[in-house]
Structures are given as C-alpha cells and as structure tokens.
Amino acid sequence: MRRFRPIWILAALAAAPAAAQPLVISPRPDKVAVTVYRDPHRGIDRFIDTSEDALGGYALVTETREVDLPPGEVTVRFEGVASGIQPETMILTGLGPREKNQDRLLLSHRALLDAFTGQNVIVRRTDRATGRTSEEPARIRSGADRVIIETKAGFEALACTGLNETLVFPRVPPTLSPKPALSVLVPDQPGGRRQLVISYLTGNFDWQANYIVDLNADATRMDLFAWVTFASLDDTSFERAQAGVVGGRVSRVYRAEDEERRDDDEEEVYAHCWPEGTTGPPETRSGFGPPSLPAIEAPIAIRSRDYYGGYDDDAGSIVVTGSRLVSQESLGDLKLYRVPFPATIASRGQKQVALLAKRGVKGELLYRSRVDAGSSPDDPELIFRFRNRKEDGLGEGLPTGQVSLFQNAGGRRLLLGETYIDDKAVGEEVELRVGGEDLMYGLDVDVDEETEKETDAWTRSRLTVANDNPWPILFEAEFRDAEDGRFDRFDHAVLRRPGKRVWRVSIPAKGKAVLRYREVELDPPDRGDDD
C-alpha cells in the first residue's frame, strides 16, 4: 500500500565548498538513450529550420554511467552532458542524492576576469615594431567590462592604450568548468563500483515526419513512404545512442529561464575606454582572439529533393532498399517510435530513418468546394482522401508531418504539391490538400452559384459545377449551416457528415452537374449585449 516518507535532506556543505567530500568525475556516459520531442510551438505546416539559432523541441537523454566510489560522502560530477540541459529535470537512479547542483560558471574570458578581480595577474605587452614582449605583474581592480589594472607605475586602463596588451592568468579557478557540469552529493555509502542512470530534458532538439506519397496513374491508390527526421543543434554528440521520437502533443510549461538565461560567461568582453577626441565613428578593433563563434554550416535543407535517394525514378514506385523501419509502440496516450539500431545523434546534425512504407493504399482524388451559409461557394480544392485502416492497406498512427505528393504520368514522376497532416489515429479519415496550380491537375473545375428566387426569408440557388478536364472527376460540395443561415430542400441526395451536408457527384469529362437548394435566413441572435 501507500508508503509516505517526507525526508529532510540536510545539505551540510561546509564553508569549504566541494572540497570536503572526495570528487569523482564521470567523464562520459557508457550507454545513452535519446528520445526526441517535437517543438510544441512549431505549427504543423512549418518545417524544422536548422539555420535558426535554436530549435524549439527537446529531448529526454538517459545516460548509464559506471563509477568507482570511495566509501563515505562523495560528490559525483557528470561531464559530457548535453549543453542545453535543463538542470531541474535531472533524475538520478542508483543512488539517493542529497543534493544536486549545476554550476553554469563556464571557463571564459569574462569569468576569468571576474574570478581574478582584486588578484594578481601578469600583463604582457608586445611591441609591434620589434616583436619584443614585456611582462609585469598587475592587479585587476575592476569588473570584466571595464578593466582597470594596478601596476607598479600606478593605475591604468587595459586595452585603451593602442598597444598590444593582454592579461596572463596564473591558473584556472576551480569554480570554473569547461562545460556545463552536473554534480550530485551522495550521502554516506559503502563505496565500490556503481551503475548510475541519469536522465534529463535538454533543449535544442526537434523532429518531424516527412511523408512521400506516390499516386498511381488513376489516383485510386497510393504508395506511402515516411521518414523520421531528427535534428540537433546541441554541442554534444551522442554516439551509438538508443534513439526514438515521441508523437502526439506533450504539455510543456513555459520556462522563464529559457528567455532569461543570458549566459554572461558566453558574452564577449569589450573594453569600454574613455572618450577619444575623434570626430568620426568609433572604430572597433578586433583583437587576436576568436572574433565570434564559427559559423554554423548551412543546414541540409529538409525540403530538398533528396528523397529520390530511396526511389527508383523510372518505375516511380518505392524501392526501400534495405531500409529498416522504426518500431512503433504506445507510450501512455502518446506514440513512441524507436530506431531499431544504435544511431549517432550528431552535434549540430540531422538524421533520417524510415518510419513506414506501405504500398497500394486505397484512396480517392476529388475536387471539393465548401459552401457556408451567408457567403458564396469557395473555389474548389483538389484533395486526395484515404482512410487510415488496415482494410485499405494502412492502419498505422501517422504523426504530424509534411507531405510531398507525386504522381506517375507517362513514365515520369511529377510533383503534385506539398502539404501537411496533423496527428492521425488509426481509423481516421485523412485528407491531403494538393496545392499548386498548373501541375498535372490544373484546377479546371468551375463552381458557380446563381440565385433563382429570393424572398426576405430565403433564397433559392443553383450550383453549377463544370469540369473542363478531359477526364471524369469526383466532386463534393460541403454545405455548412452558420449562425445566420441554414440549408434545406436539396434536389439531389446529400450525405450527412458531422456538422455538414455533402453532395457527392461524378462529373464526366467536359461535363456539368447542377444542384438546387434553399438557404433560409436566420436572424443572428443578440448575444453579449447588455440590454
């Protein structure tokens, strides 16, 4: 039954920090698993953009590490964790930690200057003419952005002289670490080899599904192939990781830290010198340090047509040559897609693994026009519609993603258009809106509404659909009632769908179809007025 134990952990860190307990450093994980979650704020019609500074998605990283612990109280430091780690999400299993710490004091120019404020360093000047260097001891008397040093001669500002001068520091203070590091304080324990599992959430990851749909010549069936595309802009690579992605929408809490966290220690240091008597714009002299971070290489465009790689162009059908598909399982109310082999999630990289491949899925291509009460009919859209079920050749949870639609015509594969789908469960109807005019299907379908008779209470209308294509088409008009109007008295059979009525008709090549109906006016109710 229920066992409840509130525990008060004493955080008895004495005045000498971290030095009291032995420090055990775990440099890297022995085994790692990475599960990537979508950016919850990226619209379903938006592609991952790795040229951005940051990705809005995140990952759950689970690392298994073996450590040899001395007996007693120990501080264990985990190095090589992801750089975007959200430290408050860290979970440690294998030991009951008393305290978990993350220090973000990174070793940097600024952090060194701050750490040595009031202490002795060496100022080194290099003569531009002779190349001769001279060194003299100095004391830093100010903060990092406004360096004043004290030398034997007196007080002077650093880097305001026009000379080549720099500070040489005697050592790295122990409070500064080269990478963000997590440490835990482990209470008294017998020591020995222990297996520790840490897991944490980390930002700057994202994933999406990319579907490639190939319609057959008469658009009654499709071949469906899909990729899972992972992207990471993290600085840490995860070698041979057990990788997966989670489909479905996961709630995240707004983290003020993400916006607030300005890593001061990653900012460059500028010397603010006294005013100079120049009348021109201030020059900015770049020193011989790194001027800025190295530019990120141009991302692999996710939208590029690299898809052909997995295809046999001539036949236009999917030949998944040796692709191994991710496995799918339910994770609560979400879907977990697991890469079936160890995969490396490279730092600042992108990776694609096949999600599914289905051939000959039943579907239909149709033109659809929406008619809302009180307004004229929308222009027709071209839609490929299929049902996500086993009987029709599919029946797999389809995660949100981008869709590229192709069709084979005359031995050539043509792009019909690109669209996107939301998460689609098994059993759902899926509509792919085929965009783009002047591809294979020009939208040579006209929908025309004419008023036949009108009174104050109702309007009798006639909808004429003309198919100018030299082939027969399927057409649907969707009638949706609104606040101020309602449709009735259709002169053809209409289907009832949730919230709408649908007139579905086959129109021969160069043919026409006509529907008569009535729209009854409703007074919009007065809601929200104060009378």
Partner: protein, 491 residues
C-alpha cells in the same frame, strides 16, 4: 564618444594545462548568513558580522553583499551606535569614470614609438572630458590619442568612491570604540526557488511515485557561503506572480487538511537543514518529499467553446488525477512548481510524457493535471441544427410612467414574448486504443447575459459544473466511437 575595443581572449595554454587546484575566488567578507527565499524572485538576507567600530563618526563598508541588493531595504542593527546615513555606490570603476574623476589632476603619459618601440614619458593635466579627453602637456593642449598612436595613461590613484562592484556603505556614530556584532538585513532579487516534482506513473497498477525537489537558483552575482536557508511557500503581496497555465483541468479541488509544516502567517516554511553554500550561477536541488504507491488514474478531457465546431477531429487532453490527502494521497502541502510525468516504455525505460504546473496546493487537494493530448482519443464537435423558437413565456421589457399636465399619472407596461435559440450539438468521440476510455466532455460558454440557458434534452445525462459549463462523462468503447447529442436553448 566612446570607443569599443574587443579585448583579446587570452586563454594561455599553460593556464589551462595546470590542474585546477586552489584559489581564484577571493575570501569572502560575509558573516553568519541566514537567507529566507520567497517564491517570487525575492529573498531576505540576514548577515551577522563582527564590526570593529572606532569611537565617533565612521564610514563602514559592507563588501560581498548581494550584487542584486535592493539598497532601500537594507537595515543595520547592533548595540551602541547610531546610523547617520546609508549609501549604495553604483559608481563603478571604469576607464571613463577614472578619466572623468581625473579632471584637474595630473596623470603620466607613456608614449611608444610604433616604429622603434622606444618609450617616452611625460606628465599631463586633464583639462576636460567632454567627448574626448583634453590634456595640457607642458604648454601645449592635446586631445588624448587623437592621432591613433599608442599612449598609456597612468593614474596616480583610484578615486575613493569608485569600486569594482556595487558596494553598500553605512555611516555610523559609535559612543565607544570596539568590536561588536551587527546584523545587516536586506532584500535581494536574483534568488529564486520553486518545486520540481518527478512523478512516475504506472498505468496498469494505477500508482504514482512522486519525488519532490526544491530547485534553488542564484543569479544575484554573489555566492552565499554556508547560509542557513529557509524557503517560504506562498505568495508574498506585491511580488510578481508566476505565469499561470490557461485553465486548470476539470477535477481540481483544493484541500482542507493542514500539513505538518512550520507556518508563518499563511506561508508554509521549508527549511533546508544544516548550512548550504549557494554559489553564483548555480542551480541547486534538494529533496523534500518522497511518496510511493499513491493511487492515480488517467482520464481524458475535451473542452468545446460555445458554437465550436471543427473540420477534423481534435485530440482530447490526457489528464492525470491524484490526491495530496494524507489518506490515499501524497500527504503533504505542495509548493507551487512543475510536475513532470514519466512512464515506462515497452523496454521498461522511463520516458517523459508531459508536464504541468501546479499552484500552491494544500494537503487534501484533488489534482487533475493535463499532461498532453491523446493521439488516439479524439472528439469532433459539430452544430447539428440551429433554429429560432418562440416560447410561451412573456416578460416585461419596458415600463413607462406618464405624468400628464392635469397631474394624473398612468403607468404602461410592455411585455414581449421570450425568444429562444435552439442549438443541437453533436459530438463524435472516437477511440483508437485497445481499451475503453472515459472522456470528460465539457461544453463551455453557456452563461449568456440572461443566464437562463436550458438543456431540454441530451443523449447522456450531463452535470452542470457551473453556470457556464456542462460536463458529460462519456465512455468510448475500445476501437470504437460514441456520439453525444445535446440541445441547448439560449437567448
């Protein structure tokens, strides 16, 4: 005009190669520290130091106070002295400030010949610093470094009020000399805490294991050494509130049990036992709660706005329900924070399935946390029919009182027939999971200005949660669907 010069990053390889042994950090002037941290980016620091005061008036400096101190809240207390004034000097030591304070004084110029490297030294007087330093050198007037050639300016002293870091100083008058204990107390921003909960949910067993961690962050710019630390849960007036989630899920109910925690006013106190060092730029987590095997259940919720309809079915939210009661729950008051929920996947590994914010939660509360949207449970609301109907009810809509010139008064009353809108809603709930599910289907927006919405018929008995919202508990069979219809009469 100021000139920005990029200082060069000098990470000499020898400095890196040396083992990180000692030093770097200066010894602190802090005394015995007591810190109380509130939720809304506010902390009370009490710093007990020994102060050796001379007799008479003296100025005492307090280095190593929080760099984010709110100086107007600083108070110094102790025996045998009076406070004359209290200063917080922001005037930071910088090249510009040095030069400005040097106006009228002499400095040394050290010129370096760019061709030969030869140095020459001369004295100069700073005449003015108004967009350029104007110097008098012997009988000439020059603008400093107007020629772009290298010149070192060497000052004889640092002006007394310029400091490396913002510093608090207090001028006191003591009756007699001698050391004595004083307590400096102030409020500071930059110290925050919140709770983070790790909830491991076992769906088949219907159990939840919860660990609660206090997460403390220090962005004050100052390290607090071996402080007695107390965390106060509850919102202090005037403090910025954390951002709340949109709308809490159905099923949250505050509790009425009292937790076994120390309280001050309405605030619960969570002490960290012993002393802890809160380093600058550190995130520190300390455990405060552990409970296992707490009964928990999963539910679904879908909320539809008034006259809401969608072209495609939309996912219902997944809700995790549990209690903070002593019996059958976590058995504690929960400070505001984030609950992260994990579940085991098919391999037995813990995977993250969503997180939710909770407010300060008294013991005995029922919690319903939205963790995400269900992939396989969807709802499509549709407006089936909407029509205008006349009821048999009349109501008074106006009344006139007319006073005629002869003094007679007549009253006229206008009655109108009530006019209703009858809206038939149809909700299609689908479930692609291999188990049946129950969805809390909520129709919101029912409180129109008249507050007389009626529900004459519904396919499933509903429950009126409030004037505005009605809920149906809809069971959807495994791999199946359920249709709910309801008729609303509104005005």
């Amino acid at each position: 005009m100021r000139r920005l010069i990029l200082l060069t990053a000098c990470l000499a390889s020898q400095a890196l190669a040396q083992p990180a042994d000692k030093g770097g950090a200066a010894p602190t002037a802090q005394g015995d520290l007591g810190i109380t941290i509130y939720n809304g980016d506010l902390a009370l620091v009490e710093d007990r130091r020994q102060l050796a005061l001379p007799a008479g008036v003296s100025r005492q400096e307090f280095p190593d106070v929080s760099a984010s101190i709110r100086p107007e809240t600083a108070t110094l207390s102790g025996e045998g002295f009076d406070i004359l004034e209290q200063n917080f000097d922001f005037d930071l030591l910088s090249p510009t400030a040095m030069m400005q304070k040097a106006v009228g004084q002499s400095v040394t110029l050290l010129r370096t010949n760019p061709a030969t490297g030869a140095e020459s030294r001369e004295r100069a007087t700073v005449l003015a610093v108004n967009g350029g330093a104007v110097l008098r050198i012997a009988d000439r007037i020059e603008i400093l470094r107007d020629d772009g050639l290298p010149v070192r300016v060497i000052f004889d002293t640092i002006p007394p009020n310029l400091r490396a870091r913002p510093t608090l100083s207090v001028t006191v008058e003591a009756a007699r000399a001698g050391p004595r204990p004083v307590t400096l107390s102030y409020l500071t921003t930059g110290l925050k805490w919140k709770a983070d909960y790790v909830a491991r949910f076992d769906e088949t067993a219907g159990k939840l294991d919860v660990q609660g961690w206090v997460t403390l962050t220090n962005s004050t710019g100052t390290t607090f050494n071996s402080a007695r630390t107390l965390l106060a849960a509850g919102d202090v007036a005037g403090v910025q509130h954390p951002r709340r989630p949109d709308e809490p899920a159905y099923g949250n109910r505050p509790g009425t049990e009292t937790a076994e925690r120390a309280q001050v006013g309405d605030l619960y106190l969570y002490p960290i036992k012993g002393r802890t060092t809160i380093a600058d730029a550190q995130t520190k987590q300390v455990s405060f709660l552990e409970a296992s095997g707490v009964p928990a259940a999963k539910g679904y919720e879908f909320r539809n706005e008034w006259l809401g309809r969608t072209d495609d079915p939309k996912s219902a939210a997944t809700i995790l329900k549990f209690s903070s009661a002593r019996a059958g729950g976590l058995g504690d008051a929960l400070p505001a924070g984030t609950v992260r929920v994990y579940m085991r996947d098919a391999h037995g590994d813990a995977q993250f399935i969503g997180e939710s914010e909770i407010p300060h939660t008294p013991m005995g509360s029922s919690l319903a946390l939205r963790t995400g949207d269900a992939f396989d449970v969807k709802v499509q609301p549709a407006i089936e029919k909407r029509e205008k109907i006349q009821s048999d009810e009349w109501e008074r809509s106006a009344r006139f009182r007319i006073t005629r010139s002869d003094g007679t008064v007549t009253t006229t009353q206008v009655d109108t027939q009530k006019e209703f809108w009858r809206t038939t809603m149809r909700y299609v709930l689908t479930n692609a999971r291999p188990q049946p599910v129950t969805v809390d289907l909520i129709q919101a927006g029912l409180s129109n200005p008249w507050s007389d919405t009626r529900v004459p018929s519904e396919s499933l008995p509903g429950e009126q949660m409030s004037l505005d919202q009605r809920v149906w508990h809809v069971t959807v069979p495994a791999n199946g669907k359920t249709i709910v219809t309801a008729v609303f009469e509104t005005r």
